[in-house]
């Protein structure tokens, strides 16, 4: 018996769940407030500009929006949903939702620091570039696939506020009412999304506590298997994108490509995110995002491995 730890599994589970939620709450709240600000202050015509509907420019802007609205995977969903509601083509809102938790200044710096902490500093720039590259490509491919579905509410569900039909838009409200709407919008969105955050945190913590990780040794040596294992682990652990690189870097016996798969798939397809998506996205869109992202990350990491093996 190791210090009664097994007896306290439920206690550890409770602490983990509370920690995950506490960690994510500020970002979810910030995302909800930013979403409300977008709702009230940004006119729809901005998102209906032709730059978003013609050619590749819309995709590129959607990819880079995370640099202006940096947030983790918990905070990004309310913002993306608000972008879509305001008239941004829904597949572009999805591209932003998938890429912003990775392609933002905070995560770029944390990835750089994480891989220079545990791994040789020669690799950290490559890991940052690799992470951004794979995340951008995954978001673009998924966005392209989703573009075929675009139409009003084909990708995103309506929010609880929209369902309640007392929604506002900037033309309808007076200046004095804006603060009141800001509070209502923020609180509604925050509470609506926190349900999914808490459910996701409960599931991810249950996995962390009750599933054995000692099997990882069987996957370390074989690249496709190690990528698969790290992807599955990223989904189940659902670690915040600001901190997941530190965990990935600690898997020192796994190849850098398997670590890249971990830090790319986690923010896009973490259990916590999937549960939050389920309250935000239509079922078909959720299936598209899950299947395409997972297959693409697996394919691209193995392809890079194959190419580097032959070229280097």
């Amino acid at each position: 018996m190791q210090t009664g730890v097994t007896m306290h599994k439920f206690d550890i589970f409770a602490v983990n769940t509370v920690a995950v939620v506490m960690d994510a709450l500020p970002f979810l709240l910030a995302g909800s407030v930013i979403g409300a600000l977008i709702e009230i202050y940004i006119p729809e015509r901005i998102f209906k500009h032709e730059i978003f509907s013609k050619g590749a420019s819309g995709f590129i802007i959607a990819l880079l929006l995370g640099m202006i609205f940096p947030t983790c995977e918990c905070g990004v969903i309310p913002i993306a949903r608000k972008f879509a509601k305001k008239g941004l083509p829904q597949h572009l809102a999805a591209v932003y939702m998938l890429s912003a938790p990775i392609i933002n200044p905070v995560v770029i710096i944390s990835t750089y620091v994480a891989f220079s902490t545990y791994v040789s500093s020669r690799f950290n720039v490559m890991m940052v570039i690799g992470r951004i590259g794979i995340a951008a490509a995954t978001a673009l491919i998924t966005g392209l696939a989703l573009s075929g579905m675009t139409g009003r509410n084909k990708i995103f569900r309506e929010t609880v506020r929209e369902e309640s039909a007392d929604c506002c838009c900037e033309e309808e409200i007076h200046a004095g009412e804006r603060l009141s709407f800001l509070i209502k919008h923020s609180a509604d969105e925050f509470l609506d999304m926190s349900k999914y955050l808490i459910a996701g945190a409960i599931l991810a913590s249950a996995f962390r506590i009750f599933a054995p990780k000692s099997v990882s040794i069987f996957f370390e040596q074989n690249l496709p298997l190690s990528v698969l294992f790290m992807m599955a682990l990223a989904v189940m652990l659902s670690i915040c994108s600001g901190a997941d690189a530190f965990v990935a870097a600690s898997f020192m016996k796994f190849s850098p490509l398997a670590q890249l798969a971990f830090v790319t798939v986690g923010p896009i397809l973490g259990l916590k995110s999937i549960i939050m998506y389920s309250g935000t996205l239509k079922r078909k869109a959720l299936i598209y995002i899950s299947v395409i992202s997972a297959l693409f990350v697996f394919f691209i990491t193995n392809l890079v491995a194959l190419l580097t093996e032959h070229l280097l």
Binding site: H8, I12, I183
Partner: protein, 270 residues
């Protein structure tokens, strides 16, 4: 019913905000999250309280299922008790960590350390106080030749908790571990070194110890099974470097049991 749910939602927002303030003021915060982020979580709690109070007047739309899940979370918050996880006091418990974090002035110093160098001398040998994560950084951030030089020329003292398991014991070894936390306990990673049990006496699992000695390279000696510390996202135990022990003694659990700070030069965070 709609009115009742709206008031309940406002109360839940208030409760979340107050709970975070309670965690911060009681010192329990550091058991869940890295104290570097107190400002962030603290701001969030203030905003939640403001939202909770103002939404009492503006009203909120909420689904019953949301109320149920948030109530489950509130119950979990109340249940998160004092937990000891492999040598670490974690959980919703008042402890001294947060005070230690607030009051500290740079890296911790050992009582008997030389005030000028921060090093300690034991039986005529000078030791550099360091933490396990910082030793990992030395191994990974330097070219092999320089690492060999560092290993040859330096002795270290670090602290950690004892980890025993059957496969280590078969090899006549135990491990000394320490847990690094980036944001919260959910991203915690345990790092450790193996030491030989030859002539060091008996130490219990999870007992905090202070170890004096030096690093030694050896041919990779992999364990058959990955070490998995329950409740920790990942565990890494060096399999090509052993820590050769000059002296090992029982120590008390540090005020900051997690490795929250890493330095890449002296004085190390220890």
């Amino acid at each position: 019913m709609k009115k009742f749910l709206s008031i309940l939602a406002s109360v839940l927002l208030l409760a979340m905000g107050i709970y975070i303030i309670y965690l911060i003021s009681s010192g329990g915060y550091t058991s869940f999250l890295n104290p570097k982020f107190i400002w962030l979580t603290g701001s969030c709690s203030v905003l939640l309280i403001i939202l909770g109070i103002t939404s009492l007047f503006t009203g909120i739309s909420i689904k019953p299922s949301t109320v149920i899940i948030i109530i489950i979370f509130v119950i979990l918050c109340l249940m998160a008790p004092s937990v000891r996880l492999h040598g670490l006091s974690i959980g919703n418990v008042t402890n001294t960590n947060q005070a230690a974090w607030k009051n500290r002035r740079g890296p911790e110093r050992l009582k008997d350390a030389d005030p000028r160098t921060g090093r300690v001398t034991y039986n005529g040998t000078e030791y550099i106080p360091i933490n396990i994560g910082e030793l990992y950084m030395i191994l990974y951030n330097n070219p092999k030749k320089k690492v060999n030089e560092i290993i040859k020329n330096n002795s270290y003292v670090f602290r950690g908790f004892v980890y025993r398991n059957p496969q280590l014991e078969k090899k006549g070894q135990i491990a000394i571990m320490r847990v690094a936390m980036t944001c919260c306990i959910a991203d915690a990673v345990a790092l450790g070194f193996r030491i030989s049990t030859n002539g060091i006496g008996q130490f219990k699992n999870d007992e905090w110890v202070r170890v004096y000695g030096h690093m030694e390279r050896f041919k990779p000696d992999r364990l058959e099974q990955t070490v998995d510390i329950e409740g920790i996202a990942n565990t890494d135990l060096k399999d090509d470097v052993m820590f050769s022990v000059d002296q090992i003694e029982t120590d008390s659990e540090p005020e900051e049991p997690f490795m929250l700070d890493w330095k890449n030069k002296e004085p190390f965070a220890y």
